[in-house]
């Protein structure tokens, strides 16, 4: 597809964006909605500027918490999955537990992490983010490591290859697409963990900014903080997608999965 055609594809989406902003601005003026309920779009952008020092330091802290939790949780998930793939019976016994654990509202445990770690440090938020990332990465990695084609294992066995060689040359490449789709989900979860666990406590970063601004009916700042959080979330997501694109150059189905 050439550039012009691709640009044309985006026209409807851009129109919707502009129309949405215009409608937003207009409806506030026409219906005289109080600004603490719904601030004007321009006011939010303005708040981003006036509150830039608060937002910058809170955002930076949130990013550190999210990234730390993401790194810890995801690597622990992959490591566990590798062990469980090696000991298949243990893996199939623990799989239902991991799936059930995935259904637990883990965010609700963040007050406990505040009791475990120094609530003034980033550690409790990082822990929430890590636990949130852990289970989906574990489940997906294990699924990937065990969904190899039996014939490919047979090929390796015909070369008298050992378990290590099979793991490295067949299981890991097969698992990579699964791992990346879990990592993309995990970036969002890490961000949610870092922000939303603030809602339970009194110390923290962007989440506290949002919580306190809402309490003071300063919705401009709250929305500005949400905007910053969203941008950070998207940036993390894009970073993982780029890594995926680099690592999975061989995969013809990547495009299809990437858009969904």
């Amino acid at each position: 597809m050439n550039v012009a055609a691709r640009a044309r594809d985006w026209v409807p989406a851009i129109i919707v964006f502009c129309a949405g902003i215009a409608l937003w601005q207009l409806s506030i003026e026409i219906f005289n909605i109080q600004k603490f309920l719904l601030p004007k779009p321009w006011a939010i952008v303005h708040a981003c500027w006036t509150q830039r020092h608060t937002l910058w330091s809170a955002g930076w802290l949130t990013l550190k918490e999210a990234l730390g939790g993401f790194a810890i949780g995801s690597s622990a998930g992959m490591l566990f999955a590798a062990v469980l793939a090696r000991f298949r019976r243990l893996g199939s016994a623990l799989m239902p537990i991991a799936i059930a654990a995935n259904a637990i509202p883990i965010i609700a445990f963040s007050p406990i992490f505040n009791a475990w770690f120094d609530p003034l440090s980033p550690a409790p938020r990082m822990a929430t983010a890590a636990v949130l990332c852990f289970f989906p990465v574990l489940v997906n990695t294990l699924r990937g490591l065990t969904s190899v084609r039996p014939a490919q294992i047979e090929v390796m066995r015909s070369y008298a290859a050992g378990e290590v060689a099979i793991f490295r040359r067949v299981r890991v490449p097969t698992a990579l697409p699964f791992v990346f789709s879990a990592l993309k989900v995990a970036t969002v979860l890490a961000m949610i963990g870092a922000i939303v666990s603030d809602y339970f406590g009194t110390f923290g970063s962007l989440g506290i900014t949002i919580k306190n601004s809402v309490a003071l009916f300063d919705f401009e700042t709250a929305w500005a903080a949400i905007l910053v959080a969203s941008i950070l979330g998207v940036l993390m997501y894009i970073a993982v997608s780029l890594a995926e694109r680099f690592a999975l150059q061989w995969d013809p189905t990547r495009q299809e999965r990437g858009t969904a």
Partner: protein, 264 residues
């Protein structure tokens, strides 16, 4: 099987506790009666009064779970049905897909849950406004996945239905919807948990106290004195999340029973 698992988890918990207490390790965190209460202490808390002269903790928590469960369920049903209907609309219009799909996809890369406090204040705190949070958390994954599912049918099956001169609605009912069900349910499983999370978080900034979110905030304040109450609350929250998930799994086994046969 479940009993063995739970016993094993109990054993691990107490073993970890024992080792850390005995050796006095403080990494990653110091272990004591406050940070990790005994499992039996937590379970005993269910049978005790949460407040002087108050009802038993278990009845307080079950009532809270029922309340939060109602919020989550209403939101889940709203979000899922709206998402499903929107997906059916989108699948029939390329233009609408181009206009709205990028935003639905982008919604999956941002922390939507963070908007919860605004929504609650906006809609004037009430359990229904908490449901709205659960609804929008459910809506986006359901809409995307259903759309993908509706588009996933074998092109040859579309050709076959064309030879029967089947109209748009026949194709939708006999081909697209059955093909979408596995996709729909994988979204519903994610959303089931998300709607419970959304309901709990939605209760936090409002003055809603009847639910699990309120209970967590309340017991969190007394954590250093009675940590087992917060743990007990979280166990109930975990059970609620798993219950929602299992509900969707059960529904899936009832509904999708025929789907693989049709797509095979």
């Amino acid at each position: 099987m479940i009993t063995v698992t739970l016993l094993a988890l109990w054993g691990l918990w107490e073993l970890y506790r024992f080792i850390w207490v005995e050796t006095g390790w403080t990494r990653p965190f110091p272990v004591n009666g406050t940070t990790m209460p005994h499992v039996h202490t937590i379970f005993k808390a269910f049978g005790q009064q949460s407040r002087f002269d108050g009802p038993l903790l278990i009845s307080v928590l079950l009532r809270a779970a029922l309340f939060t469960g109602k919020e989550a369920l209403v939101g889940f049903l709203m979000g899922a049905s709206i998402g499903f209907v929107i997906a059916i609309g989108l699948v029939h219009s390329r233009l609408a897909q181009r206009a709205f799909l990028p935003y639905i996809v982008a919604s999956q890369t941002i922390p939507m849950l963070a908007v919860a406090p605004m929504v609650v204040v906006w809609l004037q705190a009430g359990w229904l406004s908490v449901s709205v949070i659960a609804a929008y958390l459910t809506f986006f994954p359901v809409a995307i996945n259903t759309l993908r599912g509706l588009q996933s049918a074998d092109p040859r099956a579309h050709e076959l239905l064309s030879t029967y001169a089947a109209g748009r609605w026949k194709v939708l009912w006999h081909l697209r919807v059955p093909a979408s069900l596995p996709y729909l349910f994988s979204a519903l499983k994610v959303s089931a948990t998300a709607s419970v999370v959304g309901a709990i978080i939605g209760e936090l900034p409002s003055s809603i106290e009847g639910g699990l979110g309120g209970a967590i905030l309340n017991f969190n304040q007394y954590y250093s004195l009675v940590p087992q109450n917060l743990w007990a609350t979280n166990l109930i929250a975990a059970a609620l999340g798993i219950l929602f998930f299992l509900g969707v799994v059960l529904l899936e086994t009832l509904v999708v029973r025929r789907a693989p046969v049709q797509t095979a």
